[in-house]
Symmetry: C2
Subunit: 307 residues, 2 copies
């Protein structure tokens, strides 16, 4: 496995592989890998000649009060794990490599690696950005303004650098999948998107790099999220069709089972993310809740046949 | 020359050419070709194995009160001209092909081809768009809000469809060149940009598809724009260094020589488009003026050595 730190280095390597007619799979990540990440890499390794993984904790998708500075990082461990599953290229750019204009902010004492003015979109550095529109304002976007513009911008940049045939995304970040599918479609990006299911701990907690933030008690209580989602799915399968009742039930289960504050619980159309009152078709039940300082998300998709 | 109307058709053709290892040059246009367009095509034909020209009057870069509906169109003439200079593929997509979500607005009586709500960015159809930031708010952007976001969005889409090695742009649209160079850099788009000088009528008027709007008197008076720019450049070469004096002089010459209203006259840094008070280095003198209903632009770049 090659570890490459520059855009030029990746572009050169990709050009060489393309001349050999190789197909390229791509997994964008922020690192601190768990089984969810590895499942995406394994799927790409199975389906493509070459697998490229990017590891970049993207500052423009964090809000000024979010956890950019303390986001967990361990390149040694990550690169061992990526190598073991058969990744060919690990692309690990610096912030300056991805955002050369960020360099200037160092002089003003803002480039400390902590969330800074630059972490907001639109940012004062007057970059060109991708704006995803209203689909980025609901669910997680409501409490993380600019987050999905930051995600879309960095992913488009990465796609332009890596030029993969297929990009692999985890269903854990359900809204991210919907948003990026729309970005690819609306911008005519020449890439296919494949998604992989959520990986869960034995007790049901969705795997996340942020789970390391949890205290032992919080970790124990966090299982309530997946339990509430499973319970909701089972109620829908038993005939419940009222979106609002499902939401109330989930909120009740969470607040009964944990010292958590709920960010949102939503029942939405799985394609357009618009709220559904009467459940039918493919619905996404998505939620976010805070355990202490740690914000966790989880979701489940339920398919309702007929009425 | 192949005339292709669908994205899929172009992508299929490009994939075939890429397998043969051909290099691809690309000229994005809104049609109604003049010598300026043809010079871009000829340059691409000289420098690449294959030349693709797109012809698309992009609604998202027109304001609601602008000339989208009456913008001159003549596909028969354009395709003959493109064929003659050696263009290989003429991509002529419909509005619906480029913006499938536009289809829906037809039902609401908005999709008449005239400037509609969809013509504004951000548009009510909630598309993903490229936002170019403050560089799109000055010069032409000041009187055409959203224009450069519309240009950037459609050009990124076209680049993603055509995936050329080189894109050719005319220096007539000086701000467009600066903006698109920034888009390519900030978004890491894998394409080089080459520019070609302004083509002028024998009397000096910059060639433009919009010149057909001019009445005989307006046409005659419009020569004042290029004359004022040449005069300003000559003053700078003779030692004038005051940006504001240059601007006043140009405005005076235009208003003396024509029944025109001035949109703007600016002396700016040729790279970042920021205004320059004391002229040095590479400066762009750019202007826009209205002759009746017709808005014309022109510009000249002057290089000042030393002080």
């Amino acid at each position: 496995m090659k570890i490459i730190k520059t855009k030029k280095g990746v572009q050169k390597e990709i050009a060489r592989l393309r001349r050999q007619g190789r197909s390229i799979g791509f997994v964008p990540t922020m690192g601190y890998f768990h089984e969810g990440h590895l499942s995406l890499m394994r799927q790409s390794v199975r389906e493509n000649d070459v697998t490229v993984v990017s590891l970049f904790v993207n500052p423009t998708q964090f809000g000024p009060k979010e956890d950019l500075a303390r986001y967990p990082r361990d390149l040694g461990r990550d690169s061992r794990m990526a190598r073991e599953v058969g990744v060919d290229i690990l692309f690990v750019p610096s912030i300056e490599e991805m955002y050369p204009e960020f360099e200037g902010t160092r002089d003003k004492g803002q480039g400390t690696g902590k969330a800074c003015a630059f972490g907001r979109v639109p940012c004062p550095m007057s970059r060109v950005t991708v704006k995803v529109g209203p689909i980025g304002d609901v669910l997680c976007g409501a409490s993380r303004p600019g987050h999905f513009d930051g995600v879309a911008t960095v992913v488009v940049k990465l796609l332009n650098i890596v030029t993969p045939d297929v990009m692999y995304l985890g269903e854990k970040d359900a809204q991210q999948v919907v948003v990026l599918k729309k970005v690819v479609k609306d911008m005519d990006l020449p890439v296919r998107i494949r998604t992989c299911p959520i990986f869960r701990e034995p007790d049901g907690l969705a795997m996340s790099s942020r789970n390391v933030y949890l205290s032992p008690t919080e970790r124990e209580e966090a299982v309530v999220l997946s339990r509430a989602l499973r319970e909701a799915a089972s109620r829908i399968r038993s005939g419940e069709r009222d979106g609002q009742r499902i939401i109330s039930e989930i909120k009740k289960l969470i607040l009964e089972g944990a010292h958590a504050s709920i960010d949102y619980v939503s029942v939405v159309d799985a394609v357009g993310l618009s709220p559904v009152r009467r459940i039918s078709g493919n619905v996404l039940i998505a939620l976010a809740a805070r355990f202490g300082k740690t914000r966790l998300i989880d979701n489940i998709t339920v398919k309702v046949h007929g009425q």
